[in-house]
């Protein structure tokens, strides 16, 4: 992303052959590749320097020394670290993340199974955050200092201060344990397991495609609580950011001009000011989304949600490093992609960035 490499070499001045956008694209791709390689490297090294024996995680407590040695060789642990890393990167490039010692299945298959669960939860959470957070933020900015502004501030403060695992625990106790309004932990009641074929892996969507209302209702009843919880945290973030973007706009000259011109307040707020913050807002929402994807670890654990966060954590505690590596790389990649997406969006559409 640095501009240092704009030297086009040779004497060809006009219409440089690799067009500018291509060069930018290549440099971007290079940046992404380096970041991801670094991600892999750090995770791999953490996994290897752990003072824990990966062999033991495979063979368990009772194994003999001979069995130990056999697995040691099978895992390729006799090779130098850097060679092991090379082999690993080579495998990853072919989509092979190794085999989970905990589930005995290929890590890629495991991730394909658990990822949709996280995606569904984070999507619903972000959706809630956007639907409630954006209007709240706009209103808070427009009616600055009013009760609605105070409310948005309170929601934000509480959201930033609440230990999510504790709130989840309390929510479960109250809404499932005492009131019985929602279904308990997990994604689906056992009787509904396997009733709808997996198409997208998103249970709500799969149930809708199949038109199976019982499954849909049960899945919804399971997802409501954790999604509201995550939604609350993204609501806190999105509403605060919306408010501050809007304030900036409402104080700007052209808004004042528009007001002077006698345009209605509604028109000024929504047609002018809000339209101008749309790109910034999308960036914020994208970040909130990415944060929920990676940050739902504790929520997933509390709600026994079979997503990638609990997958990585459980694997980590079981020293199943292949799974931890695979999961982290997938999440990291998504995070990087979302970042780049919002970055590009910002560059191309924001008038001030040009």
């Amino acid at each position: 992303m640095t501009q240092a490499t704009t030297n086009t070499g040779g004497g060809r001045a006009a219409s440089s052959f690799p067009p500018n956008w291509l060069k930018k694209f290549v440099s971007l791709a290079f940046t992404v590749a380096i970041t991801l390689l670094g991600l892999l490297f750090v995770t791999f090294m953490i996994g290897r320097v752990m003072p824990i024996d990966p062999v033991l995680a495979v063979i368990g407590e009772r194994a003999s020394q001979a069995q130990y040695d056999q697995v040691y060789l099978e895992l390729g642990l006799d090779k130098p670290l850097i060679v092991q890393f090379g082999i690993y990167v080579g495998d990853v490039l072919q989509g092979d993340f190794g085999t989970s010692i905990r589930t005995g299945k290929p890590v890629a298959e495991d991730i394909a199974r658990v990822f949709p669960a996280t995606l569904e939860l984070a999507t619903l959470g972000t959706l809630l955050g956007v639907v409630l957070g954006v209007p709240l933020g706009v209103l808070a900015a427009v009616y600055r200092g009013s009760w609605i502004d105070q409310l948005s501030r309170l929601i934000g403060l509480v959201g930033y201060s609440m230990p999510i695992f504790w709130l989840g625990l309390m929510g479960l106790l109250i809404f499932y344990g005492i009131l019985g309004w929602v279904a308990g932990p997990g994604r689906l009641g056992v009787f509904y397991e396997g009733l709808v074929p997996t198409r997208t892996g998103l249970l709500l969507v799969d149930a809708l495609i199949e038109g199976d209302w019982d499954v849909f209702k049960d899945a919804l009843s399971h997802i409501v609580l954790p999604a509201c919880l995550l939604g609350y945290f993204s609501l806190a973030y999105i509403s605060r950011m919306t408010r501050s973007f809007m304030l900036e706009q409402l104080n700007s000259e052209y808004v004042i001009t528009a007001r002077v011109k006698g345009l209605s307040e509604w028109h000024v707020v929504w047609r002018h000011a809000f339209r101008n913050i749309a790109i910034q807002l999308i960036t914020v929402i994208a970040l909130a989304y990415a944060n929920l994807l990676e940050g739902s670890v504790l929520t997933e654990i509390i709600f026994a949600w079979p997503g990638i966060g609990s997958y990585i954590t459980t694997s980590l505690l079981a020293n199943d490093m292949a799974s931890v590596l695979g999961g982290t790389v997938v999440i990291g990649t998504i995070f990087v992609c979302i970042n780049i997406f919002s970055d590009l969006l910002y560059r191309f559409f924001d008038p001030r960035a040009k």
């Binding site: 003072p51 033991l56 194994a63 020394q65 199974r113 308990g184 009641g189 199976d212 209702k217």
Partner: protein
């Protein structure tokens, strides 16, 4: 929202207006969430739904499976040559796939005669060839539990000569010594003795793995059930084996859902979402007392809770110090508080109900005596040590109690909590001071514990006998090791039991093991559920006898 039994009709897909349906769905959803989303009331009558922690499953292959939950599945899916009757576990092993057996005069050869009428889920009949294949396979794959068979002298190299089926009805095992027959048969009743369907398994062989990869998440047995699905960390489902010749089990389908938290399991049970909850804390069991529709069934299991002291540590190798620590343990305090109902004070290395088990309790909580012993040992001021504990709440609680009471006699304990593998790693490397551990029998014979608590033929670091608890604690015990060896070849059962009793008393008095408790499993279930047997101290759960 009544649960349905099995889907009878497949949904026909109407294409016209999916978007409209989705819109309607969202609307309904909004309406629903504003009122109440109620949970279902009860489970279907022919389906058993269980809430349990099942994240320990690694594989379903009986030659490799060595986890508690794996044993539950194997027992219901595979049959062995001899097996336990769930309605009478105390009777010991009974004929199963083998209808009878004969021992040669020198005691080194056992000839089994196969029973008629057993059929695999594939429809293939069970023959001696399958048994030959299964046992050879277990030896040749050489996975962790293979020692249960190889201790009789079978090796991957000699398996073809020592495990032989001369015809479809006969299986001959040639042992390297004249072992007690009860010892051999008890081992064959363990998970690794499960007989697999040779034809089906070999049809799914990959790269000469004898079907090991395929059997990870598929089953090929002749038991009452077969595996329908397994989602790691989520659930497993067993369906009836249509070929099973015995009485058809009342439960057509068994679903075991992975629920980590005790409180959640209890809620699900109270709400009727599940029939049985298997990992309830003592507090949640107590909380269920006021619920009329639920009962709690106690069952003594084989798991022992112990601490052990590394004999490489000079202070801890002093017998007086060990005795002091055994007296400074609040057995009844723990048993009556946070372990209430789930562990019972037990100080011998054989669990109650095992052959030769004893109930002696020579140690009780006595701070003054412990202090005196420590002073006699030359440490009136006490000393500092560490204790390695894995990150499970009941173990951390026990660890904190030890920390507290040992602290009262001046032994200052630092607790190091780690994951299972971390603590185990330290233990196997003999780098701990004190290790707080649990030990469950591997097979239903006294040698399973004697052979690890009281057997260590070579105490050198080079021996690397990491499977032996005595070795891990660097405890050299030449006499006791010999007694343990003598006990496995004693043919007279009563004499054999007496040998174990003596061994345990000696062990209790001198060993660096502070055995504290034996587990009692408290399974809470709906009132109507009958005959749920978790397997006692010797085996695993038997779903096929359950009714509700």
């Amino acid at each position: 929202m009544r649960p349905r039994n099995f889907r009878e009709t497949t949904m026909t897909r109407h294409t016209p207006s999916r978007t409209m349906r989705i819109g309607a769905a969202l609307l309904t959803a909004a309406l629903l969430s504003s009122t109440a989303l109620t949970a279902q009331a009860e489970t279907p009558p022919n389906m058993l739904v269980i809430a349990q922690r099942i994240d320990d499953i690694k594989t379903m292959d009986p030659a490799e499976s060595f986890e508690f939950t794996g044993a539950d599945i194997s027992r219901n899916v595979y049959e062995a040559l001899v097996d336990f009757d769930p309605m009478d576990l105390d009777a010991g092993f009974q004929p199963a796939l083998a209808e009878s057996w004969e021992v040669s005069e020198d005691g080194t050869q056992i000839t089994f005669t196969m029973a008629d009428g057993h059929v695999f889920a594939s429809g293939n009949p069970v023959t001696a060839k399958d048994a030959e294949f299964s046992l050879r396979r277990a030896v040749m794959l050489n996975k962790t539990p293979s020692f249960i068979l190889t201790q009789f002298g079978f090796t991957p190299e000699n398996a073809e000569e020592t495990i032989v089926a001369p015809d479809e009805k006969t299986l001959v095992l040639k042992l390297d010594k004249a072992y007690a027959v009860s010892f051999v048969l008890n081992c064959l009743a363990a998970t690794i003795g499960g007989i697999v369907d040779m034809e089906t398994v070999m049809a799914n062989e990959v790269d000469g793995d004898m079907g090991n990869a395929w059997l990870r998440d598929n089953t090929a047995g002749s038991g009452p059930y077969k595996l329908a699905s397994w989602k790691p960390d989520e659930s497993y489902t067993l369906d009836l084996n249509p070929e099973y010749p015995g009485d058809a089990p009342a439960m057509k389908r068994v679903i075991v859902q992975h629920i980590q938290e005790s409180a959640t399991q209890r809620l699900q049970l109270e709400r009727g979402d599940v029939d049985i909850a298997r990992n309830l804390s003592p507090e949640d069991v107590a909380g269920l007392e006021s619920v009329d529709s639920v009962k709690v069934v106690d069952e003594l299991r084989g798991r022992l809770m112990y601490w052990s002291a590394n004999q490489k540590n000079e202070m801890l190798s002093n017998p007086k110090v060990l005795e002091a620590m055994k007296f400074a343990t609040d057995y009844t305090g723990m048993q009556d508080s946070f372990l209430k109902g789930q562990y019972i004070n037990h100080q011998a290395f054989l669990p109650k109900t095992f052959m030769g088990a004893i109930d002696d309790l020579p140690y009780s909580f006595d701070i003054e005596k412990a202090k005196a012993l420590l002073a006699e040992a030359g440490y009136p001021e006490g000393f500092d040590i560490t204790i390695n504990v894995r990150d499970a709440q009941d173990r951390i609680d026990i660890g904190q109690s030890l920390q507290n009471t040992w602290g009262q006699i001046g032994i200052n304990v630092e607790m190091i909590v780690g994951t299972g593998a971390q603590t185990l790693d330290t233990y196997r490397a003999r780098e701990h001071d004190i290790y707080l551990g649990a030990w469950g029998p591997d097979y239903p014979d006294p040698n399973t514990n004697a052979g690890t608590f009281a057997y260590n033929p070579d105490n050198s670091d080079e021996a690397g006998a990491t499977g032996l608890l005595a070795w891990r604690n660097a405890w050299a015990l030449p006499d006791m090791s010999n007694e343990t060896l003598a006990a496995v070849v004693e043919q007279d059962s009563e004499k054999r039991a007496e040998m174990y009793r003596e061994l345990q008393r000696e062990h209790m008095a001198t060993s660096p093991f502070g055995i504290m408790f034996q587990q009692i499993e408290q399974n809470a279930m709906q009132d109507g559920v009958e005959h749920f047997v978790a397997g006692g101290a010797t085996t695993a759960v038997s779903y096929w006898v359950v009714t509700k």
